[in-house]
């Protein structure tokens, strides 16, 4: 199917189930909130080696945060509920609490919760104070800069990781412009985040490797330099670069909408092909057919 000059390949993106949390970081100024968020989301591109995936969802104005200060919403996904608690504790403890003037709130209201503040509170060494307001419990931990505030528990919910689009271009610049344009468009959708640098992956991977101990390795089917070298190349002739946009979402609808917008944005930028990565439908519970995405519009 063609959209403008772009050929959308009849394939599907294969995504898999994860657990997700939304973390609201506030601070006295927008800059400190950003600093905390940046640190929080660092080294969180892929569960393969980072144990979790995280990125900024959006910035929140000081009229909408729980404490009416400038804030940032960050999404963090991991593979299990237990992992969620561990990752949140690590990252809030090391990256948010350490950042001046910040406070950290749960941004997901639903049934399942994992302990976060109740584990972080021990940093208070006995001087921590619990507070409950409107049924919400949080901890005040005395710190050198004053007080750090964190919710006792954070809501977690089943979420979807690994939604993706592949941008195939005859020139590397075209492919990259399309990929980053798509990433920008996708980021605007609430409930999704793009864990990789600027949302774009330059080194998409496949599962497994010929080497023992490697969980993933380069995806030779989409490596332009291996066309002709490997038999399973998926690239048409003339493709110089393939960039992947990976997107995670709190629910299927958000992910669908993000991917749809991504295809549109890529097409507007005149990329040659838009495709998607899958493992033949054997790995993930979710399949996002690119045609279906476009048709649902």
């Amino acid at each position: 199917m063609r959209v403008g000059k772009t050929e959308v390949v009849d394939t599907f993106a294969e995504a898999f189930g994860m657990w997700g949390a939304r973390v609201i970081i506030t601070a006295d100024t927008k800059n400190w909130a950003r600093a905390a968020a940046q640190s929080f989301t660092g080294f969180a591109t892929s569960v393969i080696r980072c144990k979790c995936e995280a990125a900024v969802e959006c910035e929140i104005s000081d009229t909408d945060t729980p404490d009416l200060r400038p804030g940032i919403s960050v999404l963090l996904f991991a593979m299990s509920e237990k992992d969620m608690s561990a990752r949140l504790v690590e990252r809030i403890g090391q990256c948010v609490m350490t950042c001046p003037t910040t406070a950290c709130y749960n941004g997901l209201e639903n049934g399942t919760t994992v302990p976060v503040g109740q584990r972080l509170r021990f940093f208070g060494d006995g001087h921590q104070i619990a507070k409950v307001v409107g049924g919400r419990k949080f901890w005040r931990i005395p710190i050198m800069g004053g007080e750090f505030l964190v919710d006792d528990v954070f809501g977690v919910q089943p979420a979807i990781g690994g939604g993706n689009l592949l941008m195939l271009g005859r020139s590397g610049r075209t492919a990259l412009r399309a990929a980053s344009g798509a990433a920008d468009a996708m980021r605007d959708v609430a409930g999704v985040f793009l864990p990789f640098p600027q949302g774009v992956v330059g080194s998409g991977s496949k599962v497994g490797s010929r080497y023992k101990g490697m969980i993933a390795s380069t995806n030779e089917a989409y490596c332009p330099t291996l066309r002709g070298r490997v038999e399973n190349s998926a690239l048409p002739e003339g493709i110089a670069a393939v960039y992947e946009v990976v997107v995670n979402g709190l629910d299927e609808n958000a992910l669908r909408e993000a991917m749809r917008r991504g295809i549109q944005a890529a097409a507007e930028r005149g990329v040659d092909y838009v495709s998607a990565g899958n493992y033949g439908g054997t790995l993930g519970q979710y399949k996002f057919h690119l045609y279906e995405l476009l048709e649902s519009n």
């Binding site: 729980p66 406070a103 307001v133 949080f138 505030l149």
Partner: protein, 270 residues
């Protein structure tokens, strides 16, 4: 839909009416409600002797008239709503664990003593010992919220263990005396000896407070957690200005005759 009870006969002596609570009237017919028993002094009387009942038993109860001599309205309630259009007598919502009570006028002494959940809102003033322990009890309220828009008298939140009490006007002496934990916000100033014997907990005053000699100044700060509370109170109809939301508060810790883990925050400046 709600059940309406209008006080049509003024009581000669106080009435005790725990039956004026959603769970007690739920599912009853109009005459069933009229036949519920109350105490009028030392005499057993029927609801119908004093109230005109409209409608059958709903989970929302509306009381009309001057009920300032009717005690124990909403006592022990777990769910539903009681709305008093007028004033309420002593022991309003005593021991309640859920649901909402709203009083458009004043409430008397002992509002929500030993409650553990739910919410009481009084638009007018309340008396002594709001949200407190009864005499002889070591622990007061265990949770829930009491929001008084007017003034209160002494011993606000005595021995409270958890929960939130907010007063829009003035409070009397011994605010948060012996409190175990929890939060008290008083916006219009308070009397002397606040926090006497407090173990933990927070007392927040928008006005200057005379403190006991056993409280120690620690620092000024702009408490983030307070913004959280004030937002919550702002949503409950209290007027919170930006100065109090983001301003500096002087923090005092005490009471040193106890564990010294409590705090009194006194608004200082913008």
């Amino acid at each position: 839909m709600h059940t309406e009870l209008e006080l049509t006969t003024a009581p000669e002596v106080p009435i005790e009416a725990e039956c004026l609570s959603p769970a007690k009237i739920k599912g009853l017919s109009q005459s069933g409600i009229e036949h519920l028993a109350m105490m009028h002094g030392n005499r057993k009387v029927r609801v119908g002797d004093f109230f005109r009942v409209t409608g059958n038993g709903q989970s929302s109860l509306r009381l009309e008239g001057d009920l300032s001599r009717v005690k124990y309205i909403g006592a022990g309630m777990k769910e539903g709503e009681v709305r008093v259009n007028g004033s309420a007598g002593m022991h309003l919502g005593a021991g309640m664990s859920g649901g909402v009570i709203r009083v458009s006028g004043d409430a008397s002494d002992w509002v929500g003593p030993e409650m553990s959940g739910g919410r009481i809102e009084v638009m007018g003033n309340a008396g002594h010992m709001v949200g407190s322990a009864y005499r002889g009890q070591r622990v007061g309220i265990m949770g829930g919220e009491i929001l008084i828009h007017g003034n209160v008298k002494n011993e606000l939140g005595s021995a409270m263990r958890r929960g939130l009490i907010a007063v829009g006007g003035q409070a009397g002496d011994f605010v948060g005396v012996n409190m175990r934990a929890g939060t008290i916000v008083v916006m219009g100033g308070m009397g002397i000896r606040a926090g006497a014997g407090m173990v933990r907990g927070s007392i927040i005053s928008f006005e200057p407070v005379e403190l006991l000699p056993t409280f120690t100044y620690s620092c000024w700060l702009r408490p983030t957690f307070l913004r959280f509370y004030l937002c919550h109170l702002g949503q409950s109809g209290f007027e919170i200005d930006d100065d109090h939301m983001g301003g500096r508060y002087r923090r005092y810790c005490g009471d040193s005759v106890e564990e010294n883990r409590g705090e009194i925050l006194v608004f200082d400046s913008r």
